[in-house]
Amino acid sequence: MEEELPRICITIYRANRIINPIILKMTNLNVTYLGLDLKNPIIAGSSGLTNSIENLKAIEKAGAGAVILKSIFEEEIYLEFAHEFRKLGPMDNNLEFLDYYDYQIKKDNLKNYLSLISEAKKELSIPVIASINCTTAHEWAFFAKKVEDAGADAIELNIFVLPTNLTQTNEDNESMYFDIVSRVSSKIKIPISLKISSYFSNLGAVIRDLSFSEIKGLTLFNKFYSPDVDIFEQKIIGSDVLSQNTDYRLTLRWIGMMANRVNSDLSASTGIHDWQTIVKMLLVGATTVQIVSILYQDGFSVIPSMIQNISNWMEENGYESVADFRGKLSLDNTTNLAEFERVQFMRNFGEHK
């Protein structure tokens, strides 16, 4: 009995000694995005995968820090209307009935979307962000309030406009973004993030100015559907819908350049397929990353391994939290961007003879 006690004491003492250091060394991936607490910076971005309660629960189980619901947008309503139109039967030709029927479909779609939000909030404990594609301001401001009432934690506004309208000037194009943000933010209290494309002639200034508006986050960048050409059929066709794993570079560059110049969170989107790219984005200053294509390709199970790998990397490099290394490689705000770009270009190409 007496001999045993010291052994037990020693074991416990040793166990204490062992346990504490592990606690100290355990990395934590917590981040704050749009004022919301996320347990890690990995967000399942808006796509067909974030459209059902079953998927959302699976994504949460896989360990994602937050989800962005599939976007709701006008094109969808017309497509559904067109689809329904094909199976009318005795209602064929009933112009008076069908004339404004898209409003009915929109009402039903919106109702379903609001139900998805409230159900998701009941079932999930990670933040649920609603996503709205806009082309015009007023409609979505009204709807944004309903989205807030349904319980969404935040709204991502996706202003989905290609600058193909040749009569619109730069100012018109850009002022539309500010107009939409201002109208929507006047109606709601939950945070707004804005997802934009890179099609601006003065992208840097636009990113900076938008970050100083009422939004809390900017998502760079939207991935546009790109057409391709079939030279045998000689017609325009669709191309890959999923991103390639090198597509992240544009986002990487701009986050790196702007992270110290903006007044909002930055979320990286497009082409993020592996844990290394996630780390790259965080290093250049992103607060969170959004993954979509990789979930389609390899399933939700990529998430836990991403988390593990990032944790390991953090541990190997002595980082205890994301804040320890986020933005380590972003350009400081005193560097002249144009100068910097030229110098980099010279370094990469000019010096190679």
Binding site: K111, L114, K146, D149, A150
Partner: protein, 258 residues
């Protein structure tokens, strides 16, 4: 008043209402069915004189016919055995409350009822309510009968001392609004029976539309009872005043004719 209509008496459930019309020139207006006797084939309606239509109805003698009467309309109250029910009726709202109180009591619940009105003369159906309630508190604004105070005061007293599982409020819209705000504070699920303006009562015109939980619903087919905490009472009050001028004018003309 007791009206003979065997079909409605048979198919009616607590919470249903009817639409009536008095005279060929009369307008269609709703009244809740306060009670029914399927054996005798009659239904009981309670009317308070408010304007032209209610005056015409009250002016009828036994043996007269109501020009048009259709029902039963609306979704019946959802009655179940849930524990303790707090029923609150304001003014003429006690009439539609009575069948609901009776049904909840018959379903085996403990029923505590607060009935309120401006003064003693406007307190109605007290005996009938007492018959079907475990406890009744009467409130009058001026203290001429029962206790002095608003219905919410009586409700709050009960809420403080008992665990209430569900609440039903029926009365003027403003009363339902404040009663609902009270129960929301205490997280008590509450149903309110709305008295919106109606024309056809079958879901055809949308005159009775209200916003519940951000969505538009029709009082005549989706209601008349709704989750009180989700009802936009301000909008409903505003819509109730939609024909104020026309109603005033019609009442003046009617009184002149008499």
């Amino acid at each position: 008043m007791v009206v003979e209509n065997p079909l409605i008496a048979k198919s009616r459930k607590p919470g249903n209402f009817v639409i009536l019309r008095i005279g060929e020139d009369g307008e269609r207006f709703p009244l809740t069915i306060a009670g029914a006797d399927p054996v005798r084939g009659t239904i009981t309606l309670v009317v308070q004189i408010m304007g032209v239509s209610s005056s015409k109805l009250v002016a009828l003698e036994p043996g007269d016919c109501i020009t048009d009467l259709v029902g039963p309309l609306g979704k019946p109250t959802h009655i179940g055995k849930i524990g303790t029910v707090l029923a609150a009726g304001g003014g003429v709202g006690v009439a539609p409350l009575l069948p609901i109180v009776e049904a909840f009591k018959k379903a085996g619940n403990r029923v505590v009822t607060v009935i309120a009105a401006r003064n003693k003369d406007l307190i109605i159906l007290e005996d009938e309510i007492r018959k079907w309630s475990d406890e009744v508190i009467v409130m009058t604004d001026d203290g001429s009968y029962g206790r002095q105070g608003l219905v919410t005061a009586g409700m709050e007293e009960i809420i403080q001392r008992e665990n209430i599982d569900e609440c039903i409020v029926i009365g003027p819209a403003i009363m339902m609004k404040f009663a609902s705000m009270l129960t929301k504070k205490y997280n008590i699920p509450t149903q309110a029976s709305l008295n919106s303006i109606m024309v056809d009562g079958t879901g055809m015109c949308g005159a009775c539309r209200v916003t519940v939980g951000g969505k538009t619903k029709f009082t005549c087919v989706d209601g008349p009872e709704f989750d009180a905490h989700q009802v936009n009472f301000d909008e409903m009050l505003m819509r109730l005043g939609g024909y104020l001028q026309e109603e005033k004018r019609a009442t003046e003309i009617y009184l002149q004719k008499l």
